[in-house]
Amino acid sequence: MSDAVQSWLRRIGPAWAAVAALVGGLPMGGQAAAAVPLEVRAAEAERIAAIRRASAAAVAIFAGEAGGGSGVLIAPDGWALTNFHVVQPAGVAMTCGLADGRLYDAVLVGLDPTGDVALVKLLGRNDFPHVPLADSDAVEPGDWCFAAGNPFLLATDLVPSISAGIVSGTHRYQEPAGTLLEYTDCIQVDAAINPGNSGGGLFDAVGRLIGVNGRASFEKRGRVNVGAGYAISANQLRNFLGCLMGGRLCDHATLGATVGTAADGRVVVSDILQSSDAWRRGLQYDDEIVALAGRPVRTVNAFKNVLGTLPAGWQVPLVYRRDGRQEQMLVRLAGVHAPADLARLVAGGAEPPGEEQGPNPGETPLPEPIRGVYEPRPGFVNYHFNRLQRDRVARTIADRHASRSSGPWTLAGRLADGAEFRLELSDSQATIDLPTGTSVLDADGPLDANPVPPGSGGLLAALAVWRQLVTQGPAAVGSTTYFGTAARDPWHIDPADGERVDVLETAVAGVEARFAVDAAGRLCWIDLWTSPEADPCEIRFAHPTENEPGAMTVHRGPELFGRFLIESVEPAGAMP
């Protein structure tokens, strides 16, 4: 369907609800029916089709005695989104029903407890009906929308209930309930959201997923719909999807600073941790926050809304104002929780899942359907899927570098000032010749002892580990896991941008590093820490185009170490 038609349908949604009422409410003969304009018939057919598509992708989740809820399929191989609070009582294995009347086994993959999101995978097919994620920032109050789910667990035949309404508000902030479950930047709807709708999809007029329903205002009205339901936005879900698909226990981000409203209404830094990246980048008390991650911040709620959509570990742009001057910086976001605390909260005070909490194959056998697709491990919800994602990224890297031998790689070119540099990477060592001198790193030894070249924060170590990942494969290099996804360019966090890059996380020989790899297996950026407290070495690659050579920009914290224009690479294509 064309964008124009979609936009038209979205706009006339409520109008054609009136149409439906009139058509349904008036006695009409056969001739009269023929008089209905084609546009109206087309709109009606489109609505029916949208509801049909959404229904097919709606999942009824059964959690045994604990009840159940809803979910929504987003990919043909069975990935389904739902709420954390829906799957929490179900454990790692659950039964799911689809509108085709069939039951499917499903396994828990990833959790975002703070955002109340869970990812499960339905098993047994690779052609599941599914819906695409829409750009939820394009949603406006007044837009037509509908929910498909399993309210009051009515769907005994597994066909979901549909409730229609309009978008009542966007970018709503809902305080955390208890210690977890903060609903930020959510979509408010007047479509009936009742117990059991939790985890189900909220769809736009053409059946695209704009959110996952999870909460409603109840207060003194009892636990039934009172005309205010809240859905986690599709754009927030998209930010966390990589982390969830990697079988992780995902955490939300904190700036390490709190903000408040000044007397004149400005949003200013009211407190800041000196251990935070924002502090090291130079953010101070009373600085006015102007924008975060590319979105304007005019209220404290807006700040919390933006922050709540971001995963821990991402680097995002922050615009602030001090003494009338506007400045911007890239700031690295820490996790809201310590990993062990998050695990404890999820387990409800018990031990972290994956240790005592998870099923132990030696004692309690795993339910038959999920054997082979579930693997407990501390820090992960289901490590099996982390390995799958890591190996998938490994294959894209291997495909790109299939012809690269394990012999030495050499890169040569010029610095921004025209001076030459030469870089050589081999199994045993990494060497760089710079106008300021030559630095050598023993690639077999500890990598954190002597970050070279001096001032870079560990440029040679970062490149040496990348070469190991390429030549040996991620499984053989220290502890390498799949981190999730992140923006290709942290300066441009487009929340609706489907083109995110995969990130691998490696701990080896005393250093920790993240490597961002695009779908073509090309390296996009590296962050490497020789010490958790110190600023990392940040390397950003610009890939060569027809007109431009490739380039490599190296920062340590705010300090530019150097910009390297790469003029020759041996063997060809080894880097970046």
Binding site: W8, R11, I12, G13, P14, A15, W16, A18, V19, L22, V23, L26, P27, M28, G29, Q31, A32, A35, V36, P37, E39, V40, E140, P141, G142, D143, G165, I166, V167, S168, G169, H171, R172, Y173, Q174, Q188, D190, S217, E219, K220, R221, N225, V226, G227, A228, G265, R298, T299, N301, A302
Partner: protein, 344 residues
């Protein structure tokens, strides 16, 4: 009207609805109207009393109409415009009968709703959008909540006794959607063209069924309320309406002295409707209409809920047997008259 004609009319409406949607869709209508709605914050915030509600800008110079409530008890009320600007609002006056309040902020050139005193009542079936500060979910420059619905009935708020107590007894719009929530009172009810149809009323809940009423006060009534306040017409306190009582029919029950006083008839006024219907002293009432009653309080509640004209029937136990009595339609309730005094 034959079917074909109806169809033509329907078709015209459809085309109009779509054309309107194309020119100024609900998104634009909501965005425009929301600029005329303000969030109000005052006293409250405990024991189920919200400290916030909604108001309507009704003049460019900062006149705001809202409901008279405990939120305004603070004297000074915080008013937040759609664009996030914050003002201190001053109470101009109150219309106690309609439970309306007029506030004022010091501002100019504000977008405002037009109140049409001659505006006709909207018809049942009109599609409407409600805009309100529901649940306080929108703060600062965040836009108020929008909900869509239909006017399901246009009826007097003089609801059945025991169903809802409100001083205002005139006609209101009853809505098919849950618009009346904490914070909603004072919200705007607009039609598909963005015209003000009414204002969401104070929360009203049936004391027996526990059901909340979703309703709005018609725009013309709002005009009268404004006139009352601005014209300095000293609107007296609302006239209390006595619940219907069996004494109006000439029947006196035994005094309600116990927790569960059995509903015996103490005496019957001679020549009263109760006597004519055959009710006698010492009868024990066990049913009012279809409801069984075991206490005096239950009788009062059951009788009090009857609307004017409802059939009034009793079942009593007399001499060990059951007797059915028909007292005819319920007469109109008497309005309490001031006690007759010596003053003119």
């Amino acid at each position: 009207m034959n079917h074909r004609l109806l169809c033509v009319a329907a078709w015209a409406t459809l085309v109009a609805a779509i054309t309107q949607g194309g020119e100024s869709g609900p998104q634009q209508v909501i965005a425009d109207a929301a600029r005329r709605v303000v969030k109000l914050y005052g006293s409250g915030g405990f024991r189920g009393l919200e400290g916030y509600q909604t108001g309507l800008l009704i003049a460019p110079n900062g006149r705001i109409l809202t409901v008279a409530s405990t939120v305004l008890d603070a004297g000074e009320v915080d008013c937040v415009l759609d664009d996030g600007r914050r003002y201190a609002a001053r109470l101009v006056g109150i219309d106690p009968q309609r439970e309306l309040a007029l506030l004022e902020i010091t501002a100019e050139d504000l977008p405002a709703f037009t109140l049409d005193p001659a505006g006709p009542l909207a018809a049942t079936g009109t599609r409407v959008i409600a805009l309100s500060n529901m649940f306080g979910v929108a703060v600062g420059d965040e836009r108020v909540t929008a909900q869509r619905g239909v006017i399901a009935a246009v009826v007097p708020l003089q609801a059945r006794r025991g169903a809802a107590e409100a001083p205002f007894q005139g006609e209101v719009y009853v809505l098919d959607c849950t618009t009346n929530n904490p914070g909603s009172p004072g919200g705007a009810l607009i039609d598909s063209g963005g015209r003000l149809v009414g204002m969401l009323g104070k929360e009203l809940r049936s004391t027996t069924a526990g059901i909340w009423l979703n309703y709005a006060i018609p725009a013309a009534e709002l005009c009268r309320g404004c006139d009352t306040i601005l014209g300095g017409v000293a609107a007296g306190p609302a006239q209390p309406v006595e619940p219907f009582d069996l004494r109006l029919l000439g029947a006196v029950l035994v005094p309600d002295l116990l927790d569960r006083t059995p509903p015996f008839v103490e005496s019957i006024d001679p020549g009263s409707p109760a006597e004519r219907a055959g009710l006698r002293a010492d009868d024990l009432l066990i049913a009012v209409g279809p409801l069984s009653v075991t206490t005096r309080a239950a009788v009062e509640q059951a009788v009090g809920r009857l609307a004017v004209g409802d059939p009034l029937t009793f079942v009593v136990i007399r001499g060990g047997g059951l007797v059915e009595l028909d007292l005819g339609p319920r007469p109109p309730a008497a309005v309490r008259q001031p006690a007759a005094g010596g003053r003119p």
